[in-house]
Every structure is written in C-alpha cells, then in structure tokens.
Symmetry: C2
Subunit: 204 residues, 2 copies
Amino acid sequence: MKRGYHHGNLRQALVDAALRLIAEQGPTGFTLSEAAKAADVTPAAVYRHFAGRDDLIAEVARQGYDIFAALMEFAYNAGKPTALAAFEATGRAYLAFARKYPGHYMAMFESGLNLQAHPGLAEVAQKARAVLEQAAEQLSQHLPANKRPPATMFSAHIWALSHGVVELYMRGAPGAKSPFPPEDLLETGIGIYLRGLGLLPPDA
Amino acid sequence: MKRGYHHGNLRQALVDAALRLIAEQGPTGFTLSEAAKAADVTPAAVYRHFAGRDDLIAEVARQGYDIFAALMEFAYNAGKPTALAAFEATGRAYLAFARKYPGHYMAMFESGLNLQAHPGLAEVAQKARAVLEQAAEQLSQHLPANKRPPATMFSAHIWALSHGVVELYMRGAPGAKSPFPPEDLLETGIGIYLRGLGLLPPDA
DNA sequence: TGTACATCAGTGAACGCGCGTTCACTGATGTAC
DNA sequence: TGTACATCAGTGAACGCGCGTTCACTGATGTAC
C-alpha cells in the first residue's frame, strides 16, 4: 500500500472517500477533514486539488451526473426500438442509479449546491435531463397531437415520481419502512400513468 | 415588547424562531444558538424547555404533522361527498402545505430525524398519512375489485409524486428553474394517473 | 550513468470561529400566611 | 394589604470540540545536462 511520499492519485482518492462519507452521513454531515483522513492525508493537502469543501462536493456531483447520464442513455438505447420500452427502461435506470450510487445521488440532489456556481455542473446536469426528455418526446409522438401534453411536462412527472419514490421509500426512511419495494412502486406507478396517457391498453 | 425578566412563552417563541431559520437555511443549517438569539435569549435558556437541539427540531416537526394532518383532513372533508373530489383536494392540500409551511415541511421531511426516537412523533406522522390512505381507500371502492390496486400503494404513488414535485420543482431548486408551476404539474400528473386507474373518463 | 536543480504534492502547526452543552448563579414571579 | 419565602426561568461564563482554511516548510520526484 506504500505509495511513497506522493500519493499518486489523491484527487480521485478524495472523491472516493467523499462518496463513502456522503452516502453514510449525508452531504451536510460530510466534512473535508474526514475525507482527508480517509485518504491518509492532511486536510491541507486537499487544497492542492480542490478549491475547498464545496468544490469537492461539486466534483462528486459532476461525476454523478456523468454516470447518471450514461446509465440513462444506455437504458434508453437498450429499450429501443420500442419507444415505450425505451421510456420504461429509463425509469428503471433512475432508481437503479439511486440505489447503486447513493453518494453520487445525494451529492446531486440533496446537497443543495448551486448548479450555476460550479462551471460545467449545469451542463452535465442538463445532459442527463435531456435523455429522459428525449425519451418522453419520442413516446409522445404516439399520441394524437391534440391531446398530447408537452414532453417536458411528461418527463417532469416521471422525474418527480421517481425522485419521490427514492426519497420516501428507498432510503432507510425516517422511522417508517416502505410498504412496497421501491422498484415495484415506481414500475406500477409509471404503468398507471402511461395507461392514463393512452399509451398502454386500459386492461393491461 | 418588554415582557420582564421572564419571557412568557419562550417555548413557542423558540419554535417560531427555529421555523424561520429552518425555512431560510435548511434543517442542517439551523443552530440552537441562532434560535436562542432570535428569541432574545441565552443559548442555555433553551435547555429549560427542550432536551437539546434535536428535541427542538422534533417539536417543530411534531407541530408540522399536526397542521398537515388537519389541513389534509379539512381538504378531504371539503371535497366530499365525491370520493374523487375529496382525493384530488388532498393532493392540492399537500402542495399548499409545503408552500405555506416550508419550515415545518423541511423539519418533517428533510431533517433526517428519526421518527421513533421522539415519543409522539411517529403517531402524529402516521395520523397524517392515514388521511391520504383513507381517501385512497374510498376512491378505490369505485374500481372493479379484480383490478383494484391496494389503497396503500395508490396513496404511496400520490405521496411520492407530490413529494417529488415539491423537492424538484417548488424549491428555489438547484440552479434550474421549474418549467411549470408546481401546482399545475401535480394537478395534471394526478389527473393522468387517475385516468390510468379508470377513475376519470379517457377523454377528460 | 551521474549530478544539479526546479518543481510541486503533501506536511504540520496554527488560526479564528461557532457550535452544543454544563454549571453555579440570580432575581422576578407566585404563593402562603 | 403586607411580608417571608420557595420556585424556577433565564443569565453569563466557561468547556472542549471539530470545523474550514492559511502558511511557511520539506523532501520525493522528474528533468536537463
């Protein structure tokens, strides 16, 4: 494990330590000093790689959005050629991401950091959002134009439902336990929603 | 404003100060010392009325659940005799509560406090939840028994959607701005969902 | 291959700060007579 | 109504702590010759 005086890749080691700490204690419980200690390094060393605490969290979020966008993109492509299958796959991918990358997810959605304040963060966040919007756009082509809701509203509904399921039913949740597996909850919820749009047969 | 040496109702004054601070800075940014200062009192005085910082937050949440349950109950009753109207009214009430009582809302859903750790908190939370579940139960009576989802799943969907809308589209949101008014987003989302359940005509 | 030197990643000590919490206290308030 | 006294809400000082951040430094690494 001895890597000599210089660390080798301290920057990413700090990100990884931050990820673990954020997943364990939430983004606000996370401290720069702890992350430094976890990486076997003095707190001051962090400043060789990041402007400060917020900048480290922002980098975690940035990597999160990257992974997230890639995952959504992959799910979307895997679901093609059916617009419906592609759309449903992105919904599942949302939850899978939240489960598999809790530290990233928290840094992205629960740290309260300002997307505009960190260069590049807003763009990569928008890129992730765009995948879902594209899936919604394609799917809404299957609706008669007159009763077609805007695709952005469409995807906002799904995004909100997914986020709500994660926050309320996937976390160790405040005291209560989930009545249903989050995955089932989202799956059925999206199913009912799509039926309501006329994209699934009423008796499916 | 002089109320003499004794404060009069310091307990509630501290709760009110906490509410304002939590609404402004989030539940984790909130400090006991600031709350004390806002109530024109020494930090130590807080300990005459609360066991500590967490206990004060818990009391804010407790009062929040009380108001929340009352609001939901009122909306539910005002929507009767139609099960559908009653149900939709509770959805609107959820958002109205989040908007009108942001400090309470944050203490309840974003402070990460353990419902079980504070006596009475779990009960009052359950009471609030029960109102929505009751509305869902009644509404699901209008569905053929064979294709009726469990009412708890039903209400979980609506709860998740509502919470997601609040977190993602009602807050000053991380950098982005909402594409739609949150109220519209929830209204249309619930509408589509109910149509999917067969509780609204397909062309409504 | 060997030497001199520049670079710069990480050190270690220190800082000022605000936090939650404790403690012995004081003096306004309420009550008993 | 007046006096003596018990209560207890709020004071003020102090504590230990961990935080984010700064600074002059050191010594391992990489490069030029």
